[in-house]
């Protein structure tokens, strides 16, 4: 038994180390990062202190939509200890351009500046920022900035916001539509006509929530007149994107805009979104002639740091044959991007990486509308844009099973992509690399003992006041994006492919140094990079020093660098492997030269080059380093010129540019699967949900470090359960955020989370250098597993679970929906077989 109670038979152990896999990759070696983190020696942004720094505090709008009629900073400036105040208008004057927009016109005409100008568009929109001697004074001064607003009607509903008569957020756009388009693959009209059954689902709603990282956003920004550089020490997780957006706005060249970070206390995608604040801080620093330090308060974070996408699916129709084969579906999706487009509208294409989910659906039509509303801008939160769609697909499968009388397990297995189908091409040209979904499902059901629970469920009968439900969530985590998919949104965008860079060198005394283009937030890049390098160079991981954190002036990078979107194991470690191999070639060449042997005869192990079958002829790495760094006259001029013991490698995945017309292409390289199963008990009189059993089976290909993978699985599972039961960001009609602190936003804790049983299958990806797949985000399987179990516990006359967020009250209403005669939200039409 493992500590999670998983019996050995159900767990696929990583392959025994082989020549190819190497000795260290695949082992759960102790994490390098842990020592400093558990001893309080990490360095987070708030730990950074600069001479003459001031503290920044943003002034935020209390209203969701209003004209700024006046803004008076005189009382704030009069407060002792205040250095300066920067207003939206001033910020605009200091900027060269508004932020770059990904959207095509008309939404591409949105003018967003570092601070709101003339108008505020959501509760929490920043209108000014104060710099002062202390945090306390900055906050007090922010309270003294007097802003007069003329309220405008707010719009918070994504479907209604697309109406022609809805109040418009950005006048120059003319409407609130950020992006609109139809995805149409196969022939859904044919499928619906020829299906034996068509299941119609009125409305499914995926709610807003976020990941609320332990550390909020933070930055210390110094516009340094001495070196004419802008130094940004922050916890932004995608600094190259931030740099590309704010550089042109600030009028600062990217070789003078220097991002750096060390430890980051969780990010989950949310910390892609701190670039507007960083831009405002740069201007503030420039105005004050001092570094500006900002550590976001939790309420500011909840109001304005970015929230996950909310999506509504209307009028869904699913085409199903008698035997349970599902031909396809159509739906109308409305996605709520909030008040400004931060990274959006990329979400409007990113869902299509998993357009058919785990299933062999051939005919799909999605009318997709992304809208602007008077709410906090969304940001790519863990599982970005795909978890909404995967939840929708899973709901669809369960509802079809229920309405047509199929066993949800059998229906899934029948429609899953089968192990023999890989590589499997989806209707939109994505290629699923590998996997075994039916076996994963069996494993998950075994882990929870599904049979036993089915019996308990039957035995429970009515009258006990309790109901048991068994639920499944089957999702994919698509990793390593092809950025060319941006062209499906906006054909003018000059983006495609992906990549990551790494740098490996042999140091003065033969030590090994590595630096990365990534900005990890708990994903243990230092540990796993050392494992990979150790295997290539024949040393131990502890002999490899991986630079902690990122510094644009010291580390190597490409424009895609950062830590986001489930890709490090593929792109980051691919780059590390490539760079280590380049270095290995140099070491071997130098070893052969020194030992007067042929390169083919050299073995690199235990920190030395040895001639095969002649172990007496050996030169340690210190000797190799010596030749290049301090003894180079022994080399030929040609070798001196060419060999540096410094190797850089950029890993690039084998992508092509997608077709924006057909909206097809290979949009992501790898597909990890998450098959979750759970058992819940519902209390009929209160709607309280208790999780009785929970299992997660992950397949992310070859695992470099199984324990790190397991940690990510636990985190993603807890987040999904929290979202399904507790966590929500909701706005009232006036656009006031209802959950702006942890008093009202109940983030899941260990007290709420069940024991999670985990097991793995390893289906190596044939498309990656190391067989690994990206997996950190997870596909949101728990969100559906919980909804599915709740549905399973309900009676046949009860309504379908149509919300991703199920509070006790909502469940209680569902439990009694049948007896109340509430609409069920679903209809079935069956083709007359005599026709």
């Amino acid at each position: 038994m493992t500590p999670n109670g998983v019996t050995a038979e159900t767990v696929t152990r990583p392959a025994e180390p082989t020549e190819e896999v190497g000795q260290w990759a695949g082992q759960s070696v102790p994490r390098v990062e842990d020592r400093r983190l558990v001893q309080g020696q990490g360095e987070f942004t708030d730990d950074v202190w600069m001479h003459r720094q001031g503290y920044a505090h943003f002034v935020r709008s209390p209203l969701a939509h209003a004209k700024i009629t006046s803004l008076d900073v005189s009382r704030a400036l009069a407060l002792d200890g205040v250095f300066t105040v920067l207003t939206g208008e001033e910020a605009r004057e200091m900027c060269s351009l508004p932020f770059f927009q990904i959207a095509p016109e008309p939404a591409g005409k949105i003018e967003e500046w570092p601070l709101a100008v003339d108008k505020v568009r959501y509760h929490g929109d920043a209108v000014a920022v104060v710099l002062a001697e202390t945090r306390e004074i900055a906050r007090d001064a922010a309270g003294l900035v007097e802003v007069d607003y003329e309220p405008l009607p707010a719009i918070v509903d994504t479907v209604r916001s697309a109406d022609p008569d809805a109040p418009v957020l950005h006048e120059q756009v003319g409407s609130n539509v950020a992006w609109k388009g139809t995805y149409d693959w196969g022939d859904i009209d044919w499928a619906l006509q020829n299906a034996d059954n068509v299941v119609k689902i009125d409305r499914l709603h995926f709610h807003r929530f976020s990941s609320t990282p332990l550390e909020c956003n933070a930055a210390v920004v110094h516009w340094d007149p001495g070196t004419d550089t802008v130094n940004v020490r922050s916890n932004n997780q995608m600094p190259m994107f931030a740099s590309m957006v704010i550089g042109p706005t600030l009028g600062v060249a990217s070789n003078r805009l220097i991002f750096a970070s060390q430890d980051i206390g969780g990010a989950f995608g949310v910390k892609i979104g701190s670039y507007p604040q960083i831009a405002a801080l740069a201007l503030l620093s420039r105005k004050a002639g001092r570094p500006a330090k900002w550590t976001e308060y939790r309420t500011d974070h909840m109001l304005s740091a970015g929230q996950g996408n909310e999506r509504v699916f209307l009028d869904t129709e699913v085409a199903v044959l008698k035997d349970g084969s599902i031909l396809g579906f159509k739906t109308r999706a409305f996605d709520d991007a909030g008040a400004y487009l931060h990274y959006e509208p990329l979400g409007a294409v990113i869902w299509s990486q998993v357009c058919c989910g785990c299933y062999k659906l051939k005919h799909i039509r999605v009318d997709y509308t992304e809208t602007l509303t008077n709410k906090c801008p969304t940001i790519p939160n863990r599982g970005y844009s795909r978890l909404q769609h995967l939840w929708f697909l899973e709901r669809m499968i369960d509802i079809v099973a229920r309405e047509l009388g199929f066993d949800p397990v059998e229906l899934r297995k029948r429609n899953y992509v089968q192990p023999g189908d890989y590589p499997y091409e989806t209707p939109n040209g994505c290629v699923y690399d590998s996997g075994d979904l039916p076996r994963s499902l069996d494993m998950a059901l075994d882990l929870i003992g599904a049979e036993r629970w089915r019996e308990r469920q039957r035995a429970l009968g009515t009258g006990s006041g309790k109901r048991i439900g068994i639920g499944i969530g089957s999702t994919l985590d698509s990793g390593t994006n092809n950025f060319g998919q941006a062209r499906i949104i906006n054909p003018q965008l000059p983006f495609s492919g992906n990549g990551e860079a790494a740098y490996v060198k042999l140091d003065l005394y033969g030590e090994i140094n590595v630096n990365l283009g990534t900005t990890p937030q708990g994903q243990s890049h230092e540990t796993t990079a050392a494992q990979v390098v150790a295997d290539v160079l024949g040393v131990k991981p502890r002999d490899v020093h991986v630079t902690a954190g990122f510094n644009q002036q010291q580390n190597t990078y490409v424009a895609f660098s950062g830590t986001y979107a489930s890709q490090f194991a593929v792109t980051g470690l691919g780059a590390v492997k490539g760079a280590a191999e380049r270095l290995r070639e140099e070491i071997i060449e130098l070893g052969a030269y020194a030992l007067e042997a042929q390169p083919e005869e050299i073995e690199l192990r235990d920190g030395a080059c040895t001639v095969r079958d002649d172990p007496e002829r050996m030169i340690p790495l210190i000797g190799i380093a010596n030749i290049v760094y301090s003894n180079n006259a022994v080399l030929t001029p040609e070798m001196r010129d060419r060999l540096s013991l410094n190797a850089r490698y950029v890993y690039t995945p084998p992508f092509h540019v997608p077709d924006p017309e057909a909206k097809t292409g290979n949009l992501t390289l790898t597909y990890a699967s998450q098959i979750h199963a759970c058992v819940v008990e519902l209390d009929e009189e209160s709607g309280e949900v208790e999780i009785l059993d929970y299992a997660a089976v992950d397949d992310c290909g070859t695992r470099i470090h199984p324990q790190i993978v397991e940690g990510q699985v636990h985190g993603a599972t807890a987040l999904g359960i929290g979202a399904a039961l507790y966590e929500a960001f909701e706005y009232d009609e006036q656009g006031q955020l209802q959950q702006a602190s942890f008093y009202d936003y109940h983030a899941i804790t260990s007290l709420d989370a069940p024991d999670i049983k985990v097991a793995d299958i390893e289906s190596p990806s044939p498309f990656t250098l190391n067989g690994a797949k990206g997996m950190g985000e997870g596909g949101g399987a728990p969100l559906h597993a919980i909804c599915s179990a709740i549905q399973d516990a309900l009676g046949p006359d009860d309504a379908v679970v149509s919300e991703s967020h199920n509070t006790s009250e909502r469940v209680w209403r569902l439990v009694h929906s049948g007896e109340r005669g509430d609409p069920r939200g679903v209809t079935v039409s069956t083709r007359d077989s005599s026709e």
Binding site: R135, E136, R139, Y297, R298, T299, E685, S686, E688, L725, Y726, E730, Q738, Q739, Y743, D744, H746, I748, T749, L751, D752, T807, S808, E809, W812
Partner: protein
Amino acid sequence: MLLESVAYARPETVDQALEMLSSTDGAAPLAGGQSLINVLKHRVASIELLVDISRLEELRTVQDRPDGTLEIGACVTYDELEHSEPARAAHAVLADVAGHIEDQQIRNRGTVGGNCCLSDPTNNLPPILVALGATMNIQSAGGVREVPAEEFFEGYFTTAVGEGELLRSITVPPLPAGGGAGYSTVAVGADSKALVRAAAMVRADGQIEDARVVLACVAPAPFRHTGMEGALRGSEATAAAVREASLVIGEDLSPPGDVHASADYRREMARVVARRSVWQAIEQGGGRRG
């Protein structure tokens, strides 16, 4: 979330504390600070002087008297109450309630007196104290006056404690023969916002002889639901009878509705927690029928 500057004093005795409280405008007692400091950070109250009473030994003991009465000092923390032997022996349910307030950090600092004097309608301790028929001992320069818990909690954030006064201790009478206590909550998650609470004390012997049923979170202060109490009295100590009695709760309540739950749901759940707490009390007292 930062404090405005505020004066702070740590008196040596209760008398000194009372002197400071009555002689300084805008003075307020500081106990565990788990609510007061947050209130100050949010700047929804402004206070000139914090009189820290949390370390006054006179207020920090739990004592059991020979007659079985328990006296709990106002500055006893939740954690201390949870683990106090006399408290556990006399009122296990009360000790359990203390042991389930939020998280361990809050239980290490939050005090029984602070929990009562804050009088947040969702706080854990007030309803159980009312159900157990506790007495609140309020001290001023002039001496100590006793107020029944039932009258102590006056409304949202208001209690019977007046200017220049302190809650000194709480006395809880022993459970009567055949009596038991119960407590039930419907909340968001394991340790978050309470939507509705009920506490009960029931004396039964196959038949219910007496019942005190207290509801909380559904009104500005916890209150006894005399309708349900009346319906219980004299009825059989069975789950069905308790259920029947709970049905009198309903339209008479006007609970708040908010983002966590509607008023309707809270009203329905008031019945649910009422019967759960009554049933627990019957079980604990050993008086159930059959």
